[in-house]
């Protein structure tokens, strides 16, 4: 009995601090010990969230943001993956393109925002362009690296055992590069949301970032905090999905293996 109690206590240990903090926030804000204009109480944020959900406004902005994020990931990630594949597989194109790509990679893509606004205005293209650019390089670098570092011994074995070039790719090179590609993907997901937050906050007329920026004009701190929380949740969700896919795809990998029976 004692043991069970102590294990529950142990499990809840990490939650004590955040929960206490939330409770304090609620109390201080409700009794105006701190300004509820600057720090609206958590319950008020929840209420705001519910009413925005009911009006459909929240759903609309979330969908727009998710759409931008995913389209950017698809375009940028797709290009990064393909470039990484080609440069990794063919030493000659690797030699031709890789150092140029590495050079461009060094430009912080968010620094391009002013010029991107000039090029594309503040419509969809600008945001999707920025997200694509942000996710392209991590996926490129990790795909390229993953393919280049596949154990040459496996490839030699594959050749001796009569695999044709296509089979060498699908059965040896690609699976061998996958762990590295996933590292790139997970890193990209973080950059994807980050880029989107910045882009939507600076130049947009829809999306979560716009919702927050618009709320600023009316001092609606509750909406701003809600937006921040939603970004955090979307980011977490993307990471969890990626993790699940990774664990399923790499189930052969010792670090994903369930402890063997017996």
């Amino acid at each position: 009995m004692k043991k069970i109690q102590s294990s529950i206590l142990y499990a809840s240990l990490p939650w004590i601090l955040p929960v206490t903090l939330l409770i304090c926030w609620q109390i201080f804000s409700t009794y105006e010990i701190i300004s509820s204009r600057f720090f609206p109480p958590p319950t008020a944020i929840i209420t705001t969230g519910i009413s925005l959900l009911q009006s459909g406004e929240l759903y609309y902005h979330m969908m727009i943001s998710t759409y931008r994020a995913l389209l950017g990931l698809l375009i940028g990630g797709g290009i990064g993956f393909l470039l990484g594949l080609i440069n990794g597989l063919f030493p000659l194109t690797g030699r031709l393109f890789d150092s140029t790509i590495q050079m461009i990679r060094n430009i912080p893509h968010l620094a391009l925002i002013p010029i991107v606004i000039i090029w594309f205005g503040i419509d969809e293209t600008a945001k999707i362009f920025l997200v694509s650019l942000g996710v392209l390089f991590p996926i490129y670098v990790n795909t390229y690296h993953g393919i280049r570092t596949v154990d040459k011994g496996y490839i030699e074995m594959g050749k001796v055992y009569g695999l044709n070039p296509m089979e060498l790719f699908t059965r040896i090179i690609l699976p061998g590069a996958l762990p590295s590609i996933f590292v790139g993907l997970r890193y990209s997901l973080g950059l994807m949301w980050l880029t989107l937050i910045v882009a939507e906050t600076i130049a947009s007329d829809s999306g979560i970032g716009y919702m927050a920026m618009n709320a600023r004009e009316f001092m609606r701190t509750d909406v701003i905090i809600l937006s921040i929380i939603i970004y955090a949740l979307l980011g977490k969700l993307a990471d969890v999905i990626a993790k699940v896919i990774e664990a399923k795809t790499l189930k052969w990998h010792p670090s994903y293996m369930k402890i063997p029976k017996k």
Partner: protein, 249 residues
């Protein structure tokens, strides 16, 4: 014994990398189904010789005949076992063995291939491990899988480049028995590179000593198999080879 081994004729084989001459005018013949062990100091060109036999390298001059044909590249009737098992970690044990049937798969469906692989796994004593990932196997078990993969296509020539080098003494003895059993059943021609002279003698019909890119000694092992490790003739032969290797020149 099925008669699937093949005759190998190496003539005037030279191999150099840049300015480094690794093999010099090497001549060697292997009869159908003969088991030849190759020993020699590290760096004397044993692996290079096997890679030439495998078609992974091209001779600088000279040629190797397999049957009546010149080896010019990788051939489907030649299989190699490497020092590391080189099992693909993302395939199960069974799927790894199926890789050994790559060239024949056009004719058979997946189920048949898997059945063949399961049968082969049973022959190397790994029944029940079909669906494990290679990373959970011991070193000896990995090499058994590699052996199953090498032999499932019934090759005519098997090349073994120190495949047991990383295993402990008991596992090696087990592997010797297994290799010998499968060799008797299938009758392939075999070249085994090893740094263990007693292993070379235990398994082979002939022990060839490579030195400075050429054959320094070529001994027939006449004793009946299985050969006891403490058999007088065996130890005598072993000593003879070691003395020759250690001889200062």
């Amino acid at each position: 014994m099925s008669n699937q081994g093949i005759h190998i004729q190496v003539s005037e084989l030279n191999k150099s990398f840049g300015t480094e001459q690794v093999l010099t005018d090497l001549d060697l013949t292997a009869k159908q189904g003969e088991f030849i062990s190759i020993v020699g100091r590290s760096g004397c060109g044993k692996s290079t010789f096997l890679r030439l036999l495998a078609g992974l390298e091209k001779p600088t001059t000279g040629e190797i005949l397999i049957g009546d044909e010149k080896i010019v590249g990788i051939r489907n009737e030649v299989r190699v076992m490497f020092q590391e098992a080189r099992l693909l970690p993302w395939l199960t044990v069974l799927e790894n063995v199926v890789v050994g049937l790559s060239k024949t798969k056009q004719k058979k469906d997946k189920k048949e291939l898997r059945a063949l692989a399961a049968e082969m796994l049973e022959q190397v004593g790994l029944k029940g491990k079909e669906n494990e990932w290679p990373s959970v196997l011991s070193g000896g078990q990995k090499q058994r899988v590699a052996l199953a993969r090498a032999l499932i296509s019934k090759p005519k020539l098997l090349l073994l480049d120190e495949p047991l080098g990383a295993l402990d003494a008991f596992t090696r003895l087990e592997m010797h028995q297994l290799i010998q059993k499968l060799w008797k059943e299938q009758g392939f021609t075999a070249f085994l590179v090893t740094h263990d002279v007693s292993e070379a003698i235990a398994l082979a019909d002939r022990v060839v000593l490579l030195e400075r890119g050429n054959i320094a000694m070529d001994l027939t092992v006449p004793m009946e198999r299985p050969r006891g490790r403490d058999d007088h003739d065996v130890t005598e032969l072993e000593q003879k080879v070691i003395d020759r290797v250690m001889q200062k020149t």
